[in-house]
């Protein structure tokens, strides 16, 4: 299954310095990086700030153009841009999620979402930008509706995970929410057509070939028919989803996610993994390495298989906390 193609390698083009503590999360602004608009990246840190970096000029080096500070009082764990690129949500150990808007070069905190009992671990916008999800150590997942005038209203507090929820991620095409947790499972949440209630429609645990330890992250490919999950159990797993079934009928049909493949090369917890637009999976782990995987071109009777395309040892001096493809 595994081979390394020597002709493909990862080359560091720039190291962005400025944060004074661990960098936990990254997010590319989706409205930037093409059509002459310089790419913009947000990074969030244990130093309680978020930094905005912009390529200047369009194909030149990145420079720090803003520091979002004096708002969060603890580590900022995760950040996410709205699909329009106009808003940035930041999730913090201080139990709040801040919403930032930029006008000109400045960022202003326009809303603070409160409700979680303790550390908020992740935040995610749905594909249309009409909904926001957050999750945290209090084991809950919150869904917020985005209203005019930068108002946010909580529409659901979802209980179900038995432990700390590490990440939430909306499906790229359907308004279905996925969460992964210290309880070793991935849960799928959808709205009941009749009652507008959100509830858990599927749990991917050990009995469905799921992970045997904390699931740190999940990510979808562009079309949303594949999902990758990364875990403390030293594996990443690829899952297949039937989109047609997901969307059919008035009654939501559970997502039949079937584990396709899993990888064992890791010697440290796998904290992050992400699909790029062409289906290449990048992963980062506690062994300080970044790996790229790609689906094999040879077709197999049992289903697709994946190959290790390249491995960058010592990509950083310490654990890799987040990998994010620029999809422009």
């Amino acid at each position: 299954m595994n081979f390394v193609d020597d002709s493909v390698e990862l080359r560091e083009v720039q190291k962005l310095e400025g944060h004074t503590d661990r960098v936990w999360g990254l997010a590319w602004n989706p409205a930037t990086g093409s059509a002459g608009i310089p790419a913009v990246l947000a990074s969030c840190s244990g130093d309680k700030t978020v930094r905005i970096w912009q390529q200047n000029p369009s194909n030149g080096p990145f420079q720090c153009t803003a520091v979002l500070e004096e708002t969060h009082t603890r580590t900022v764990r995760s950040c996410a841009w709205s699909p329009s690129g106009k808003l940035l949500a930041t999730a913090s150990f201080d139990a709040t999620t801040a919403i930032w808007e930029h006008s000109g070069g400045d960022f202003e905190c326009v809303s603070t979402l409160e409700g979680h009992e303790n550390e908020v671990k992740s935040v995610s916008w749905n594909a249309s930008g009409s909904l926001l999800a957050t999750c945290g150590r209090d084991k809950s997942v919150w869904i917020w509706e985005v209203l005019p005038g930068n108002e946010f209203e909580c529409v659901s507090v979802l209980q179900g995970h038995a432990q700390d929820v590490k990440m939430v991620q909306w499906h790229p095409t359907v308004d279905v929410l996925f969460s992964c947790s210290y309880d070793n499972t991935v849960k799928v949440w959808a709205e009941d057509g009749d009652s507008d209630d959100w509830h858990c429609v599927q749990t991917l645990g050990e009995s469905n070939n799921g992970h045997s330890s904390t699931v740190w992250a999940l990510s979808f490919n562009a079309t949303g028919d594949k999902m990758v999950t990364s875990s403390d159990d030293l594996t990443i797993k690829i899952w297949g989803a039937d989109i047609i079934r997901m969307q059919s009928g008035g009654i939501f049909a559970p997502l039949p996610a079937i584990m396709i493949e899993q990888f064992f090369q890791y010697i440290g917890q796998v904290f992050t993994s992400e699909y790029d637009r062409e289906g290449v999976i990048a992963s980062g782990a506690a062994d300080d390495a970044v790996r790229l995987f790609v689906e094999s071109e040879e077709s197999k009777i049992d289903g697709p298989t994946y190959n290790l395309l390249t491995r960058k040892e010592k990509a950083h001096d310490m654990d890799i906390n987040s990998v994010q493809w620029n999809s422009a």
């Binding site: 210290y182 330890s213 159990d233 030293l234 010697i267």
Partner: protein, 137 residues
Amino acid sequence: MVSELINANLVSMRRKSVEIELNPAMWTTFSHHIRDIKDPEHPYSLEELKVITEDAIEVDDQRSHMVTFTPKVEHCSMATVIGLYLRVKLMRSLPSRYKVDIRVAPGTHATEVAVNKQLDDKVRVTAALENPNLVDM
């Protein structure tokens, strides 16, 4: 089935450090950092109480280290806190390139698996270490 066997072996490889005979210099480095940590419930240091013993330090040659400690009472509810105190002390003493795993010594605690999982979760540990009471230690 084969895949499950491979996974199990990899997990045990990660957990077990290569055992090297501790030379005096190595022991000095670690014990110096550990021996003055106070057990929160007692005035004596953790080493004096035999919570940490010389045998409990395993060192491997890849700059990642395992520290195991033995809680003196099987149900000691302070096990996680002791683990966190160790983390604070070692973080402050060792260069950041050292990865340190802190574990309850096998067979010494009723909820060993749960305690070790918590001590192994670096995000949970980071959040807990932001507690000002721990920082004062």
